[in-house]
């Protein structure tokens, strides 16, 4: 660990917070449908969409109608994306003439992109036509992120409203988030990326002659436009298989910093927007502080573990001063690789600029724990906020009892219905992650995909399902996910992690919105101070540690102790 390294980390995080504050005001405005400086230009477009779709923007939906709208929209997205992949051979903008994507892979990819996961069991540059990339994948990079934020809006309305029957209009939320938040930042961001040297073209590939005289085909394409929304929408699906480690996706230190900034920006800002909307900024800051504790401690552990390096290699005479450099780009450096890895897993982005598989056991456990917890510090666009609020509700429930009152959060009583929905939601995680991991551990066909055996192999499976379920999409490379088994189960894990989780959350939004706000008194414990932050951190650590301690023990933890004993996998 170096001072300069920590300085890089601190400056990047500071830049995120500084930009998130004004953005949060903008998001809160879009939530409420207020006018902003883009309205003169985009207002007619917005209204045009509503007219086209026959949506009355003034008519709100109850939680059930909202959920149905979201599911109908997602199913339509899934089917169209599946069709696009299967038919790409007959469609234009396919300069390299790729064939149809295999059915299981197309299922996995469709699930992946509509759930904001962007897990890639394929190499984009050698599988997907430009049309599929742009019309399918990039479009869903926007829409899946917008869907996430829309669902968070619904839950926030649950807290902000009193005795309300409705939680908003899904179509309006979706349109506003896309038009006013994601598109403008993406347009500016893509131009900045192009200026910083990222390719943006419709050409398929260039042929180059290397110094040795060999012929090389170098893939290029509309990279900058996909890159910005890949980070901004916490998507993570790269144009290239190597993702942000590829020099075209991440040419230099500036793009590296901007990519980390972009993937943290909206999740951070939406937490602060939540504070604004419930008219208590401190509530937003308290949640952000709890998230920051996990993010920063994670960075610290990973940074320490990576720079400490591998004692086995050190004993073989490898210079230990740079730490563990396997799978990392020297140009990104330890600090910014570790920050990228922690941030990409703390959000549900899943873009990588270094290979998590090659990290030290404890270093790799940090992103893995982030995934197991569901990527909620600060989380995916929207998904982080609602995911964290669900955990906060459970923490509030236990703590609230301890002060001798029916627990309440932001003036809403947490009662049987809320607990039912919260528990239904959090059950999905162990069911899907541990269930699929356990099944895979028994199946030969699954184990054949592993690149390593022993604890590291287990980590690869656990990581795959944790990443799918948390809609992250980063991979512990080494495992071959493009098999019938993993395409199918991984796709199911993504769908469960998104939809089975969010339906109870939306039901909870409806239940909360219908409640009256209880005025706070000295008998209500404050949820905006350090005590609450500490409580949240404690409950989350215990809740997730208890669920995953056995699996982690047999994966990275034992691998760490074995590494200290001189054994690798």
């Amino acid at each position: 660990m170096t001072f300069v390294g920590w300085l890089q980390i601190a400056l990047t995080l500071a830049l995120v917070v500084v930009c998130a504050v004004p953005l949060s005001r903008f998001i809160a405005g879009a939530y409420a449908g207020e006018r902003n400086f883009l309205t003169p230009v985009l207002g007619p477009v917005e209204r045009g969409f509503y007219r086209l779709a026959g949506v009355d923007p003034t008519r709100e939906q109850d939680w059930f109608a909202y959920t149905i709208a979201m599911i109908v929209f997602s199913v339509a997205g899934f089917l169209s994306l599946y069709a696009l992949q299967r038919l790409q051979g007959f469609l234009p903008l396919n300069p390299r003439g790729f064939d149809a994507v295999a059915p299981d892979l197309a299922f996995n990819t469709s699930s992946s992109f509509i759930t904001n996961t962007n897990w890639q069991n394929y190499s984009g540059e050698s599988t997907m036509s430009h049309l599929t990339q742009m019309l399918g994948l990039t479009v869903h990079n926007f829409l899946s992120a917008a869907t996430g934020l829309a669902m968070a809006f619904a839950l926030v309305r649950g807290f902000a409203r009193s005795s309300a029957a409705t939680v908003g209009n899904f179509w309006v939320d979706l349109t506003r988030v896309t038009l006013y938040i994601l598109l403008p930042i993406s347009v500016v961001g893509a131009l900045v990326f192009v200026a910083l040297g990222m390719p943006q073209t419709l050409a398929g590939a260039v042929d180059a002659t290397t110094l040795e005289g060999a012929k090389q085909t170098i893939s290029i394409g509309p990279i900058a436009s996909q890159e910005i929304i890949k980070e901004l929408g916490t998507n993570g699906g790269g144009f290239f298989n190597a993702n942000s480690a590829h020099p075209f996706e991440n040419p230099n230190a500036w793009t590296n910093l901007l990519e980390i900034w972009a993937l943290l920006l909206i999740p951070t800002a939406s937490v602060l927007a939540f504070g604004r909307i419930v008219r208590e900024m401190r509530q937003g800051w308290a949640i952000l502080a709890a998230m920051a504790v996990f993010l920063i401690v994670g960075i610290g552990v990973a940074y320490w573990s990576e720079t400490a390096g591998n004692p086995i290699l050190t004993s073989l005479g490898v210079d230990a001063s740079a730490g563990n450099l396997e799978g990392k780009e020297i140009r990104n450096g330890q600090a910014m690789s570790v920050l990228f890895a922690t941030a990409t897993s703390g959000t549900s982005t899943g873009a990588v600029n270094a290979m998590h598989d090659s990290m030290t056991p404890l270093g790799g456990m940090v992103p893995m724990f982030n995934l197991l917890a569901g990527c909620i510090w600060p989380g995916g666009v929207g998904a982080g906020l609602y995911g964290f609020l669900v955990v906060a509700i459970i923490a509030v429930f236990v703590a609230g009892l301890m002060v001798g009152r029916t627990p309440e959060y932001l003036g809403k009583k947490i009662e049987t219905r809320e607990m039912k929905f919260a528990m239904l939601a959090v059950l999905i995680y162990p069911l899907s992650v541990l269930g699929f991991t356990g099944a895979s551990a028994l199946l030969k066909t699954a184990l054949d995909s592993l690149g390593n055996n022993g604890p590291h192999g287990l980590s690869e499976i656990l990581y795959l399902f944790a990443s799918s379920n948390a809609n992250n999409g980063s991979a512990f490379a080494g495992i071959n996910g493009n098999t019938l088994w993993f395409n199918t189960t991984g796709g199911l894990a993504m769908l469960l992690g998104r939809f089975a989780y969010v339906v109870p959350v939306l039901a909870m939004a409806g239940s909360l919105a219908a409640k009256k706000k209880v005025p706070a008194s000295a008998g209500t414990f404050p949820t905006d101070g350090p005590l609450f932050v500490g409580l949240l951190v404690g409950v989350i650590v215990i809740l997730y540690l208890l669920q995953y301690f056995p699996a982690l023990s047999l994966g990275p933890v034992v691998e760490h102790f074995l590494m200290l004993g001189g054994k690798t996998f």
């Binding site: 009892l401 002060v403 029916t406 069911l431 991991t437 022993g454 000295a522 008998g523 301690f549 004993g565």
Partner: protein, 684 residues
């Protein structure tokens, strides 16, 4: 306040014995299924017992270990049942003493309930129906709950209240309600029956203290969902651990996995949850308050506002004379003497306090009147004044306007000093009484409502708990404001009619506040029903009993404050033990996980931070700890976590420290200690 005879300490021998038997009866899966956590424990206990038999038959060396695990799993279930049985047993003991008061006595029923001078027939009390009218005479038991329709009697209600002093019950008004099982001491009354047999107050009380009508309260339900959810999560963890372990090269035995499961699922709070609820009701009963449902007790903990009647709760209820203010030309002594003379025959508390003030502070001797020439003029509703006629004198005292009317004058014709004195007394919240003699005003007596000592501090404590207090009084706003500020209440409702009370409660409830109030009159009934916690006084009207959701047998309105504390304590105990139970799991992992995988991964021995003797003793010790902690916490569950009125943040900090951090640390010490014993006895 009379406390009912305390029938038992925390652990009475007979209750323990009965509970031990009951905990075996409670193994019936049909009743246990209501408690998912313990039900799961029972199911796996059966499984491990089967494994034990299998190991015995196979003469497997592991049989001793399997057998011990099975035994301790059964103990876990039994201990949880025992906790519930002890709590129920304490209620049963009280129910039994109540049951003795219930009789199947003979009732003397009017053949025609409309003709109360008609003939009477003898019927069994159990055959009484709604609207029957019975005659009860001195020495007889009242056969059922009802309203006195005719007559006055003194009644011994000690069977219900534990209070042996008789109370007066009379037809009409707010003292007409009588309870079955109580005894008429003198006179005779005619009682219209208002409850069918089996649903009388006494029957309901017995059912309540026995816990027969116990249903899960809303908050208990929400907590059960959390606990069930955690149980399902840990089931998933343990089931999936088998394939994951197999991949890692360890084939886990089902016994070991079950041991891990039982250690992880929240058996501690699961086992104590119903005991906590029953004990909460029980604490209330010990306090001589009967709640008609657990829901009401829980609501008491959530109360944001107390509506307290001024009289009897905040003030002593009797206005007392504190000052004599003469008009110019009249000495204080002269006024005091006249006031004393006018009050000698006045037996009201006000009259007695005037006598006391005149004699005590002013040293006026008791005057000697010749009975032949003294005509005392008692208080009458027409004149609203009282006094005495002596030869040549006619002393009168009374409300200012009444005296002025008696003198055939008006306030503006009275001396300005008199007007000033009246205003001053009224402004300070007191009541001015005017005194007149020989048609002349002498001065003003200052009657004051005296606030109970210590009440202000209690209200301050309530405020720290986040509870506002509102004083309800029939006084005018000026008087009310003065007393309100002296007593330190947050708000007051002056010149309050029952309708005002009801409207006030509705208004506050629409702002999502929970209101508690107490009342005794029939006219309080609507407000009692509307309030979230309505405490009816036992001495009060039947309508009030029916409308409230609690009955205070001591008829002490100040108890509302304790009721709130008991409600809070109930929720706190649940929350604290839940936190403790979950925090315990961390240490159990550190005991069991390294033990499970020591053979495959000796490196995981690094996690054996407690340095437990062997894998088997580690697992056994964790299971034993898990069972014993239930027993160890029964006293806390029954007594409840200490409540301090210090505000939510301070409470949370303290309980997090004690039950959260304590819950993390305690099992490390406990499991290690058990492991030392297990290893020393060569049990594993």
């Amino acid at each position: 306040m009379s406390k009912k005879a305390q029938p038992q300490g925390l652990f009475d021998r007979t209750i323990i014995a009965a509970a031990a038997v009951a905990s075996v009866h409670k193994l019936d899966p049909r009743s246990l299924v209501k408690n998912p956590v313990i039900f799961v424990t029972e199911v796996v206990s059966v499984l491990v017992t089967l494994f034990f038999v299998r190991d015995l038959v196979a003469r497997d060396g592991i049989a001793s270990f399997t057998g011990q695990i099975a035994a301790w799993l059964w103990f876990t279930v039994l201990f949880a049942n025992f906790a519930e049985a002890v709590a129920e047993g304490r209620g049963k003991a009280q129910a039994d003493s109540l049951r003795r008061a219930r009789t199947d006595a003979i009732a003397r029923r009017y053949v025609d309930p409309k003709n109360l001078s008609g003939p009477v027939e003898s019927v069994n009390a159990l055959d009484l129906r709604f609207d029957d009218v019975v005659l009860v005479e001195a020495g007889q038991l009242i056969p059922g709950d009802g309203d006195v329709v005719e007559g006055v009697a003194s009644v011994n209600e000690s069977a219900i209240t534990g209070e042996s002093a008789p109370v007066i019950r009379e037809a009409g008004g707010d003292r007409s309600a009588v309870t079955g099982g109580t005894t008429v001491l003198s006179d005779q009354i005619k009682v219209r029956i208002t409850a069918a047999p089996g649903s009388t107050f006494l029957d309901r009380m017995i059912a309540l203290v026995e816990g027969a009508e116990r249903q899960k309260t809303p908050n208990e339900l929400a907590l059960s969902i959390l606990l069930s959810g955690l149980t399902i999560i840990f089931l998933i963890v343990c089931v999936t651990l088998w394939p994951i372990a197999k991949y890692s090269g360890t084939v886990l035995s089902a016994t070991v996995l079950i041991a891990l499961l039982v250690c992880l699922i929240p058996t501690t709070i699961g086992g104590l949850l119903s005991a906590i609820g029953i004990a909460g009701m029980d604490r209330l009963i010990r306090f001589n308050v009967i709640a008609t449902s657990g829901r009401a007790v829980e609501a008491a903990g959530d109360v944001d506002m107390l509506l307290l009647d001024k009289t009897g709760t905040i003030t002593f209820g009797n206005r007392m004379a504190t000052e004599f203010i003469p008009v110019p030309g009249v000495g204080t002594k002269e006024l005091a003497t006249a006031a004393l003379a006018s009050s000698l025959a006045d037996e009201t508390p006000e009259g007695r306090s005037i006598v006391a003030l005149a004699k005590g502070d002013h040293g006026i001797p008791t005057p000697k009147f010749d009975p032949a020439t003294t005509i005392s003029a008692p208080f009458s509703a027409q004149t609203r004044i009282s006094g005495v006629d002596l030869p040549g004198r006619s002393i009168r005292k009374g409300a200012v306007d009444s005296i002025l009317r008696y003198l055939k004058t008006t306030l503006d014709k009275a001396p300005s000093e008199f007007r000033l004195a009246v205003d001053r007394v009224a402004m300070s919240g007191g009541t001015p009484l005017a005194v007149a003699d020989k048609g002349m005003l002498l001065g003003v007596i200052h009657l004051k409502d005296v606030v109970k000592p210590g009440i202000k501090e209690r209200f301050a404590a309530l405020r720290a708990m986040g509870i506002r207090t509102v004083m309800v009084t029939g006084d005018n706003p000026v008087t009310a404001a003065a007393i309100a500020s002296e007593a330190g209440v947050d708000d007051f409702l002056a010149e309050a009619t029952p309708e005002d009370k009801l409207a006030y409660i509705r208004k506050e409830q629409s702002g999502r506040r929970l209101i508690a109030m107490c009342g005794d009159g029939t006219n309080d009934a609507p407000a009692l029903a509307q309030a979230d916690v309505g405490v009816a006084m036992q001495t009060g009207a039947q309508a009030a009993h029916e409308a409230g959701n609690m009955v205070d047998l001591d008829s002490n309105p100040t108890k509302l404050i304790e009721i709130v504390e008991i409600g809070k304590q109930l929720l706190m105990t649940r929350g604290s033990l839940t936190t403790f139970s979950i925090a315990n799991d961390v240490a159990k992992y550190f005991a069991i996980l390294p033990a499970m995988f020591l053979a495959t991964y000796p490196a995981l021995g690094a996690l054996n931070v407690m340095r437990l003797a062997s894998p088997q003793s580690a697992i056994l010790s964790a299971v034993i700890f898990n069972a014993l902690i239930i027993i160890a916490l029964i006293p806390l569950a029954l007594r409840g976590v200490a409540y301090r009125p210090v505000g939510a943040a301070a409470l949370l900090r303290r309980n997090l420290l004690v039950y959260g951090v304590g819950g993390l640390v305690a099992p490390f010490i406990g499991i290690k200690a058990i492991d030392v014993v297990v290893a020393a006895l060569h049990l594993a």
